[in-house]
Amino acid sequence: MANLILDDICVRFGGLQALTDVAFSVGEGEVVGLIGPNGAGKTTVFNVITGVYKASSGTASYDGNVITGLRPYQVLSMGIARTFQNIRLFQNMTALENCMVAQHSRSKSGVVGAILRSPGQMREEARIQEKSQKALEFMGLGDVTDEVASNLPYGHQRRLEIARALASEPQTILLDEPAAGLNPSESMDLMNSIARITELGINVLMVEHDMKVVMGVCSRIVVLDHGVMIAEGVPENIRKNPAVIEAYLGQ
């Protein structure tokens, strides 16, 4: 059963048609790649799913519930987390705090309990901290937990973004160019990480330019060009698809 379903999504910014009738799905255990030339509307798709932009028409649904029109924090609490193309960590917080903050919607203690340090609140803090620690270790960041994010090397920051998304305990994770700026060996590590993420039972939707990564990890690929879906299929078919070749070479 498909988890995340996009149904004829259209997005217009003034006169500009950013997305036209985009429709695809991300199912259980899948790693779906979303590719296309620059400006094809890939990040716009992410922004529509996560509630940053509103779709002009069409709906997105998740587990049978419509999510278009929800606020970003509500989308997250449904189990969809994301990372950013240009890293958007909380630069002044430590790696651990970055992960802890991501569990905001999974915890509930209020102001009064927090100030009084009630036992319930202390237990919750401990639980959040433990999960964050695990997420960091999963992404190989176990030894930099107390480092301030802005002091981490670039590759670590990329991984911290994924760790933060994982810390919110998503069922689906949206990765926006996770391999951008990574060297070949770091890209290999990333591919391993993505494989292990799917082993946790988390579905992945990934925008990526690095074809080696895309072809290596994706079970299915969706191709966008100028906001229109031009192809969808398994990696081998996409590689041979003339429309895709045209879109990439034609520019």
């Binding site: 996560t50 940053v52 606020r71 970003p72 924090y73 997250l76 609490s77 987390a81 994301r82 950013f84 958007r88 909380f90 630069q91 002044n92 917080m93 705090e97 802890m100 903050v101 991501a102 569990q103 905001h104 919607s105 999974r106 915890s107 203690s109 209020g110 102001v111 927090a114 100030i115 340090r117 609140q121 919750e124 803090e125 959040i128 301030v148 933060r164 919110s168």
Partner: protein, 309 residues
Amino acid sequence: MRGSEHWIHMEFFIQQLINGITLGGVYALIALGYTMVYGIIQLINFAHGEFFAAGGYMGVILISWLASQGLHPYACLALALALSMGYCALLAMAVERLAYKPLREASRLAVLLSALGMSIFLQNGLMLTQGVYDKGYPTEITSGGFEWGLVSVSYMQIFIVGLTATLLVGLNILVFKTRIGRAMRATSQDKVMSALVGINSNRIISITFAIGAGLAAAAGIMVGLYYGSVNYSMGFVPGIKAFAAAVLGGIGNITGALIGGLIIGMVEIFAAGYISGEYKDVFAFIILIGVLYFRPSGIMGENIDDTRV
């Protein structure tokens, strides 16, 4: 004779130091509200001084009423403090909801004007409901103290400094050790991102207003108790001073608000004590301008801030 004169100078200095810490503590508590709100939505909340005044009024009303119910004075004080802080927290949340939230996407000037309007509205509201006459605080709870020669420390001063310290420690725990605090820091750094990690920024902004106003209410009660009365326009001058303190410390920075408050308090007291009372504001603002000239972001501003809210 020389020795004793030396002692008088020493005692004079110590007394002024104590005066400065007390006044600085009050400024710091008010400055925190400015700085927290600025940190989270980059708004100078001109109405903040009115929360201070409203807290002072609520305090005297509650203390008198509770005392008439036969409660022990200290119990009255504690209860009045808690209730006034709660009241002002709710008031601030309402103000935010009414006057600032609808303007979240508007230009900063629009919000600033809305804040100014809110300040006038609240001040006149206080005037119309509470009257133009000063309201005296009961002085019985606040009398007494220690005395060594020229130096006298009243229980009230100890209470003010103690309560200020307690509230600051509480605030620090809240901001740095709890999930709400993390969410506040996250929202102040990147509102879009914090929404994407699941934080309802409107709620966090509302909580920030509430906390700032709660602290201002506590300051209002302390001022009422310490100085003896409250009136409807009392928020204006301390509001300006506390705003200066927040800017001096580096607006948006909690530690900065504390340092700024203490500096402004000290400078005022020492300028009045050693030069003349009429120049104390001049010196306070000279220090402010001087610091901003060399460090435009304030003492603890931006570049070294991991304490920003």
